[in-house]
Amino acid sequence: MTPRRRRMLLVGLILLGVSGAVALALTAFQENILYYYTPSDVSAGKAPQDRLFRVGGMVMAGSFQRPPGSLEARFVLTDYEKDITVSYTGVLPDLFREGQGIIARGRLGEDGIFVAEEVLAKHDENYMPPHVADTLRKQGDPRVTTPIATSTADAASE
């Protein structure tokens, strides 16, 4: 075996060893890397009861309510299998609207209502001009999930 072959083998073994170790570590930490739980996870009892966690899903159309005279927002988060009601007091991000994917961080209350301390809006990987979005929406394309120009204000005044 020439020295060059040996060095080649060494580099190969380093790569193999490190990627093997990292793959094992990532598999072991799968739960901790999980950025958010889905409503199905929560209803299956996979989410922690005693500490803060994140739950992610779509804001169900027609579920947004704001009790009069308060800043509290209530909406239903769904992953199209299970739902969870979220209550949040504070400023919602610009992209927040019904049909939008969001991630809320908070605790699950006794009454099954998730009390959020922070709400983040997720946006998807689709980028298109408004007229294309309108056309796709008319064709019932599943990529366009949001109804036409529903802002938070519109939803709140319903």
């Binding site: 790569l15 958010y36 991630i103 997720k122 946006h123 990987e125 408004p130």
Partner: protein
């Protein structure tokens, strides 16, 4: 093929070639970046959901793809340098690192500026964001490790190992949005099937990406020349060309 490889590994030849290629790379980069910026900021329509705020992707996405691409180039060069004992490959790897670190920093900063209005937060410990931050630390660690050796050859070998070990982070950054639930959205371009970005918005992005690659090539021509000058400062071929001018 091998002749070309051997020729390029000779410092005087590489020094001259880099000097000759540099203006071509630089001017085509400037041209493409100008076209891409105009296309992205003026010609491309606004997004149906994110309005004008989405336009930051014309800087964010190319710098993110460069941060990964430069790392892979650096790791390959380091491996070649280690296996074939090729000094020029080590010089290439050393020249890559600061540029890659800046692309990574730019990715994180533009991503943060993008994240605040869209997601509602500057930073989240999300798999994609965290692994990109680790990438920045790998670049910085590589630079710090190099700086801690007086002897260039020892610096080359030690830092090459770090570059090779760190390459496992690259697929993690790339596929983090596919493997785990993430706040960051999934891939729009590099996936099976049609890109999920409208052609009118896609072309300036591709032009910008090509511009970033050419800019990197132009900067590398300069940096590799600097590395060669530093490493070969006592060589006779250098005194011949520098005394002559």
């Amino acid at each position: 093929m091998w002749l070309w490889f051997h020729k390029l590994s000779s410092p005087p030849y590489a020094y001259r070639t880099a000097g000759r290629l540099r203006p071509w790379f630089l001017w085509s980069a400037i041209l493409l970046l100008a076209i891409g910026t105009f296309g992205g900021l003026v010609l491309a329509p606004e997004d149906y959901q994110q309005k004008d705020a989405f336009r930051i992707i014309y800087v964010h996405v190319p710098s993110a793809s460069m941060s990964l691409m430069v790392y892979v180039a650096m790791a390959i060069a380091a491996a070649i340098g280690l296996i074939w004992r090729m000094k020029l490959a080590h010089a290439f790897a050393a020249a890559c690192a600061p540029v890659g670190a800046w692309f990574t920093a730019l990715t994180l900063v533009t991503g943060s500026i993008y994240g605040k209005p869209m997601w509602g937060t500057w930073w989240a410990w999300d798999p994609r964001l965290t692994s990109e931050l680790i990438l920045l630390f790998l670049y910085l660690g590589y630079l710090a490790l190099r700086a801690s050796f007086e002897d260039t050859q020892r610096a080359d070998r030690a830092s090459a190992i770090l570059a090779i070990v760190g390459v496992v982070n690259v697929p993690i950054v790339k596929y983090s949005v596919v493997w785990w639930n993430s706040l960051h959205q999934g891939p729009s371009i590099s996936k099976l099937g049609a890109p999920s970005i409208d052609p009118s918005m896609l072309w300036p992005l591709l032009v910008m990406m090509a511009g970033f690659v050419l800019y990197f090539a132009a900067v590398m021509c300069d940096r590799i020349r600097g590395e060669i000058l530093r490493r070969e400062r006592n060589a006779s071929w250098l005194s011949e060309i520098t005394v002559g001018t």
